[in-house]
Symmetry: C2
Subunit: 250 residues, 2 copies
């Protein structure tokens, strides 16, 4: 059985907070202390807040391009400016939406810049600078504090091509292989699988949102217990990004 | 807490089997009887097998086009023929892969035609003819047999644009709203969400694969317990398909 437990009772995360410590304490307090083999899924926005990766739009001076786009799309010019600064390319602009490729390589709306769950009327959270490194720091700190070997996933909700609605995906990973390569395994009838590679880190992030996705309750972290993942000491979320030239769908 | 339990010990499903009954019995036998509010996620391939939606490639006469494509891509001409028959359009053909739009509207590799976990050397499973209706039949039959109100999701693993690896998604739904519309809800700090629509049926399907995705163990069904879904009596998986003209990513 796989169990997914939301961590409730975390304080409002602010710059400089030790997220790992707060997670360990809150998990302990609610009677579900962290164990070896747990996967800890952390919403990116609290990581960004702890790392001070938050921008006050009042302090941003928009470029002429940002001003023009903002006017056309009825958006905040300072927000557009931040979205542009976080992008390494713009994939599409239409219908008031800006789909960009972030510095990390993720293709998503608004470069992942997030207004929700950020304190301060005019503040937005950016994606963490290096979400894999953030995940790794949390993982090592949990090991130091409570002695448990865990995997950590930093998650964000992304829209996607072809299908409606957003799903939670992994933008940073530590301690587990994000993709389980099942090519060569046999099925129920001895047929050798030829094409199966499963994006387990994304599936774990989506599973976590079953307890995380409650905006009004403030559950930014989930523990997933009972899933036997493949360990990795050099995992990177970039393994989940399909290079454009290999993308048959686009 | 959300729990995900694989249903083990199901027999090999064959044409005419009552899947709902087999699920109820196996769940009972392993000590996790079905309860009100459970979500039952069923891999499409056993649904197709029960419904006799399986094709023996030896009985398929390929068209000239299928023969030509098969030669170019080093594929089985009969398999290509079945893939074409299941498609309402072809989105891309390259690198030995055929990305189609199925009759239902799903965009995926090989029209969802599946070789794995199908008995018979030359047999392939098609997607169920009407996966929503299949899900609804299983749901009603579970209600009749054990009196429980459940939701049912028929799942398939799909590759996707932008990201590597496959994830499990919903191709049929019954009893739950596949998309949770959270626009208008407030976040932790009172900010009103403007764009958030969560594809919960896909997230549930992905969560289920954490116990289903074990080819060698033959776990084709999962029970998800403890997730409060929005009920619906007229749910349709087509709500999860983004119309091409609205797709900003493509």
């Amino acid at each position: 059985m796989v169990q997914i437990m939301g961590i409730e009772g975390l304080p409002i995360i602010k710059a400089g907070d030790n997220i790992a410590e707060l997670i360990c304490k809150a998990a302990e307090k609610q009677g579900t202390p962290i164990q070896d083999g747990d996967i800890i899924v952390v919403t990116h926005v609290i990581v960004s807040r702890a790392e001070g990766h938050v921008v006050n739009l009042d302090e941003v001076k928009p470029s002429t391009f940002a001003e023009n786009i903002a006017k056309l799309y009825d958006k905040d010019p300072a927000l557009v400016e931040v979205v542009l600064r976080e992008a390494k390319s713009i994939r599409r602009m239409a219908d008031g939406k800006i789909i960009t490729e972030t510095k990390h390589g993720f293709v998503c709306a608004n470069s992942g810049v997030d207004k929700s769950n950020v304190p301060g009327e005019r503040c937005v959270a950016l994606l963490p600078e290096n979400p894999d490194a953030s995940a790794d720091r949390i993982r090592r700190e949990i090991k130091r504090l409570v002695g448990c070997d865990v995997a950590v996933i930093i998650s964000d909700t992304h829209g996607r091509p072809l299908r409606e609605g957003e799903i939670n995906v992994a933008v940073g990973v530590a301690g587990l292989k994000p993709i389980r390569d099942r090519r060569g395994e046999k099925d129920l009838f001895g047929y050798v699988l030829r094409v199966k590679q499963t994006a387990v880190a994304d599936e774990l992030a989506s599973a976590a949102e079953l307890v995380i996705g409650q905006a009004d309750e403030g559950v930014p972290v989930a523990i997933i217990r009972g899933y036997k993942f493949l360990k990795s000491e050099d995992a990177r979320a970039v393994e989940l990004i399909r290079p454009r030239e290999k993308d048959l769908f686009l």
